[in-house]
């Protein structure tokens, strides 16, 4: 692994979802999008809030609140757009964030034994230990938790 690859692998975007600070591997992040309109329509998939249109693409918006807790303000919502795997393919997904994102370097530690599937590991930042999100596992691992929310979202 060369220096550039190592730097990329050890770079994380720190973001705030609700009241929680979490990290996402920087290599997965596509962009921080401005608070564009969230389009909703009936569906039954848990933990999806709707879609946004960004650069000519329809991007599904992951509703993290039922899992991570904390209500983020609906106004001034930014979207962190990242690549995620869905089965064998990959597509972009957006997470509502409050816009305060920073870059940090560090080595990800394995997750605790009882961590949920959406936690890929932990990252030490200062005195804090932040969960590193695994977006690929997000909707699948938490589909049961978000079942009731999915029904609400479809209304």
């Amino acid at each position: 692994m060369n220096i550039a690859e190592a730097a990329k692998e050890n770079s994380f975007v720190l973001l705030r979802i609700g009241h929680r600070r979490v990290a996402l591997p920087a290599g997965q992040v596509s962009e921080l999008a401005p608070p564009v309109r969230l389009h909703t329509f009936p569906h039954t998939t848990p933990l999806l809030a709707g879609v946004i249109v960004r650069r000519g693409r329809v991007v599904p918006v992951i509703d993290t609140e039922p899992v991570l807790g904390g209500k983020s303000p609906m106004s001034h919502r930014f979207y962190l757009i990242a690549h995620r795997r869905v089965g064998k393919a990959s597509e972009l997904g957006a997470i509502p964030v409050n816009g305060e994102c920073e870059l940090a370097s560090g080595e990800m530690q394995p997750p605790a034994m009882n961590s949920p599937a959406y936690v890929a590991g932990t990252l030490a930042v200062g005195e804090d230990s932040l969960d590193v999100l695994n977006l690929d596992a997000f909707s699948i691992a938490n589909s049961a938790a978000g079942e009731s929310h999915g029904a609400e979202a479809s209304r």
């Binding site: 009936p42 039954t44 998939t45 879609v51 329809v58 690549h83 990959s90 597509e91 909707s139 479809s154």
Partner: protein, 184 residues
Amino acid sequence: MTTATKSAAEPHADSSAKPRRGRCPETVVLFIVANQMFAVAADSVHEIRSTDSIAGTANEIENPELPKVRHTIDRSGRTYYVVNAGMHFGLPVTRPALVLILRQFRAAVLVDRIDRMAEIPGVYPLPLAFTGDERRWYRGLAYLDDSVIPVVEPTGFLTPQEFQRLDGAQKEAARREAEAAVQA
């Protein structure tokens, strides 16, 4: 064909929803159910009638097999099952005023109102993140006037299994009716 198959199989193939290239623009009917707008291909709609105009000819299903289908209507010698679009999509209950009678399927759809007909430049595939019933409900998404509108799949209103159940119940009801008529 080969390229597309290969691309879909690649683990990192980015399948983010972009409009399908090479698709011709198409004319759609935009309709409203519980304040939610939907689109349906205009050529899949045979007829649009008011619920008042068919009230006299609609037959109530005595023991509905499916809560979303409570009536049938007879048009041109065929029996159409009338699907309440609000119940189908899990939307709040409304008072539908129109019936869209579909062209190639024995189904008609109760909707609140027609917004207009419009031409859409193309259909975006539904993002893969959507894995629920919506994959059967929609052909994809349209982007029109700064709004994302689901483009409904007409065959999604009733599955073949649902048609089978409804047909079975209808036959049984007809048999009971005939028996009752003989006894009388």
